[in-house]
Subunit: 261 residues, 2 copies
């Protein structure tokens, strides 16, 4: 394994630059930490490159990762260089350089799925991905204007959800609508049906919207069902988008598990 | 209204210093933006001090806030000085210096309430406060080690929930337990009952725990009921604490609104 001690090494410079970016479409990103690297190996095989803290190569979980990657694709860095790549202060001594999958849009969507309509906050996007995966959703569509799914903050709050989901990014949601063979269901504050008032569809395309503006007007107009969560309106105007999505997706799951009782 | 143009003015220096802090117990904090300042006025009356961007004093919402505060407690700052106080880049031209209420623990707790057990992330704490308020909860207890409720990030993600809740901070949860006249209900992964398996108590003390470690062992042991949310365990290990709390609190609310059907 090649060992680098100099901050001026071109490979290190390129990695440091990459560590600060949000991940453009089809561009490589850095996965930081043991858990994310293990998950990548399991789901996608070897990374483009594996980068290790030279002082921690003997740690069993790190050694196992190193053994799983061809030696020519491994780099060992001095601890202080490794630290400059870590997304959080307590770096775990390993990062993978990977190219996230860029998925073609399916011709038709027949399954339960979730549309992210310009959700801005990386923490919200990561939490929402995690909630989708936990609720058994397998496919999500992120509109252009949504925080980048493979950015460090979204990866961190996703807690591995990225590997349980087919994630379509930079999607034109208007162009997706004709492909939906399941009803579009949007959360809304006005003119909406109480979440608990009727039976939710077994499969649908949920759309959750921008933190300030909510779901875009054109999508609301196209929705077969508009849903509101009955809450204490005197206390707060609305729920956080991640909380609202959790309530909706798990109410659908509850109804499905209980046969709609 | 006093107008200050110099960054070296002692009052400005003190405010800039305060704007960067998380808010110690009983210490003043800066509320940033029109919405939070309006909410403070409505619930607590005049602030200790109101600080305005001198260039925006003619804006109707800002002017209304200035009119509601005694002139001796108002400061007008040059725009660039005001900017250095704002928690977000797009400052709204107004901030209130306030002393958040420090509440004594009640002798007995008979109402539905929520305990925060060392929740670290300010965004999670703010979202959780917002969810509690939306679910109709009126009182929350934040253990020592939880992110400071009146810090800028928590205020921002709380979206006004702070004014709909009695917030007890720096609470020793073990010392609180004997005061609870409602059952303690904890979320747990092991040895827990399915959230949907039975009727939830109409009123209880929910406890939600640390992002990594979950609810502390002593609290789990004291819980009358341990609840798990049935989710796709193959996809992700667990839910974000804010998502889990939203699902639990709104399932309790659903049961309560429907008379337990």
């Amino acid at each position: 394994m090649k060992h680098i001690s100099s901050r001026d090494n071109p490979a290190v410079k390129a990695l440091v630059k990459l560590a600060g970016t949000a991940g453009k479409r089809g561009a490589p990103v850095l996965l930081d930490g043991v858990h994310l690297c293990q998950a990548w190996l399991q789901h996608h095989g070897a990374p483009d490159q594996a980068i290790f803290d030279v002082e921690r190569l003997s740690q069993p979980d790190i050694a196992a990762l190193a053994a799983a990657v061809p030696d020519r694709d491994c780099l060992a860095l001095d601890a202080r260089l490794m630290q400059s790549l870590a997304a959080v202060e307590s770096g775990q001594g390993v990062a993978f350089l990977v190219t996230p999958p860029v998925l073609d849009l399916p011709d038709a969507v027949d399954e339960n799925c979730v549309l992210f309509d310009r959700i801005q906050d990386p923490g919200n996007v990561g939490t929402l991905l995690r909630t989708c995966a936990a609720a058994g959703v397998k496919r999500v569509f992120l509109a252009t204007g949504t925080a980048a799914a493979w950015s460090p903050k979204v990866l961190r709050s996703g807690q591995g959800a990225h590997f349980a989901l087919a994630i379509h990014e930079h999607v034109d949601l208007a162009a997706l609508l004709p492909k939906l063979n399941v009803p579009l269901v949007a959360t809304a504050l006005d003119g909406a049906q109480d979440l608990y008032a009727g039976r939710l569809p077994e499969r649908c395309a949920w759309v959750f919207g921008h933190e300030g503006q909510g779901v875009a007007g054109a999508l609301l107009a196209a929705a077969r069902l508009k849903i509101c969560i009955p809450h204490d309106m005197a206390a707060v105007e609305s729920l956080n988008v991640g909380a609202a999505a959790a309530i909706c997706l798990f109410e659908q799951r509850r109804q499905s598990l209980s046969g709609g009782r």
